[in-house]
Amino acid sequence: MLGPDDVRRAMTRMAHEILERNRGLDGVVVLGIQVGGVWLAERLAAEIAAIDRAVPVGSIDAALYRDDIGLRPVSPAARSDVPVDLGGATVVLVDDVLFTGRTVRAALDAVADYGRPRTVQLAVLVDRGHRELPIRPDYVGKNLPTSAHEEVRATADGVEIVERPAGAA
């Protein structure tokens, strides 16, 4: 679907959009959502630094804020690392794939426990549709129409759509 070059170009474009939308980088903090958003947040922060200057980058673990706790496994080692006070900040949340919106909803609650940002924006590499909550991204690498039983895998090497293994809901 997307190759490594496409991913790189999409990240560069999103970095420019973040600068443009915020008229600079004052108060901008980039936070990757654990687990899949973390490498992307680092890449995005590197792109931003290459264009203008370095911004604080961290991660946010939404597992303890989900609305489906007990229904799915959690990954233990993931944890939040918020390097600065988020009060008054412009937080750019980063995730690899935007699907139902539930992870982002949980991440918004997690962010709120660290302070009251002036604004929170959402950057995703892939928007695959099927939202279940009123959540929309501010920066999108690629809109990718999918069916609900497909799975989207996003890495630095690219993005691919695979059929879910048989038996999975």
């Binding site: 706790i69 233990p76 539930r102």
Partner: protein, 311 residues
């Protein structure tokens, strides 16, 4: 993971998983508002048939920081005194809707018995001389972070000193440290060793003190004197206590640990505040985070359910 009744039950993988999850909980506890909504709507019942203020408060704090509802009852306030059987007590409380029981009891094996009478998860908060798995986990976590390890504790030399025979803490700690790859030595007079010691033993603390990475002191209980298992507290201190001289002979990096409450002047004859390697306060702090990890793993982690494509 459904229950935590012993270290053996969860195995090395379970131990490592809980220690990793504890990192997440430590981060939560460092926040100005150390509370997350993870276990909203879940009820945790602390059933303490034997009083232990620190373990009870630690579990209560852990449950509250995960937003669970907590019920606590100790024998003194329950109808156990009116002749209600253990089974009736469990079934009555379970009927109120409990997702997890933390059980502390003076008899070994009670957590297993309780799990036959309820579908709730069971956490062993200490059973007789048998085990105290959350204490062992918090000790392993304290060692791991204090020595900057990330995975297991391969090759680490741990000496556990004191009344091994009557200590559930010793038993669970041997299991957890051994599971993580450490070499454990038990230091005690022969009268305070169990018939089949779970690790190599010695009666000479001075022989091992220069070669340990972790010195773990157990609480020496007064009633052992009445049973004539040790001649006197003074003699015990002289042979097995951490004196100033012995403290000097500890390797510089060595940690000194104690499950609390300490008998100052018996097993520890120096002020722990002046021992650079003492991590006794960290043990208490980490206890809350480890118990949060345990409760979250049992009640919130989910099992065998396929994941969505969004991580």
């Amino acid at each position: 993971m459904k229950h935590l009744r012993s270290i053996e039950e969860i195995g090395t993988d379970g131990v490592l998983r809980l220690l990793d999850l504890t990192d997440t909980m430590v981060e939560v506890n460092r926040r100005p508002n150390p509370r997350v909504p993870a276990l909203r709507g879940k009820t945790v019942c602390n059933l303490f048939f034997e009083d232990s203020t620190r373990t009870r408060l630690s579990f209560e704090t852990a449950a509250k920081r995960l937003s669970a509802d907590v019920m606590t009852f100790t024998v003194g306030t329950s109808s156990v005194n009116k002749g209600e059987s253990l089974r009736d007590t469990i079934e009555t409380v379970a009927a109120m809707g409990v997702d997890a029981f933390v059980v502390r009891h003076g008899s070994s094996g009670v957590p297993w018995q309780v799990s036959r009478w309820t579908t709730a998860s069971i956490v062993n908060g200490g059973d007789g001389w048998h085990g105290h798995p959350t204490q062992a986990l918090l000790d392993a976590y304290t060692v791991r972070t204090a020595l900057g390890r990330t995975g297991g504790l391969d090759g680490l030399r741990v000496a556990i000193v004191g009344d091994i025979r009557h200590s559930r803490v010793a038993r669970s700690n041997v299991e957890v440290f051994t599971a993580l790859g450490a070499d454990v030595t038990l230091v005690a007079p022969a009268t305070l060793l169990p018939p089949a010691p779970p690790a190599p033993t010695t009666a000479d603390l001075d022989e091992v003190i220069e070669k340990v990475d972790v010195l773990y002191l157990l609480r020496m209980q007064q009633e052992r004197m009445q049973e004539a298992l040790v001649p006197s507290l003074r003699e015990y201190s002289a042979r097995f206590g951490l004196t100033a001289q012995r403290a000097h002979r500890l390797p510089e990096h060595a940690l000194v640990m104690h499950p609390g409450p300490m008998n100052r002047g018996v097993e520890i004859l120096v002020d722990p505040a002046e021992l650079p390697g003492a991590v006794i306060t960290q043990q208490v702090t980490n206890g809350v985070a480890v118990r949060m990890a345990v409760l979250f793993e049992l009640l919130g982690a989910g099992r065998d359910v396929p994941t969505e494509s969004t991580p």
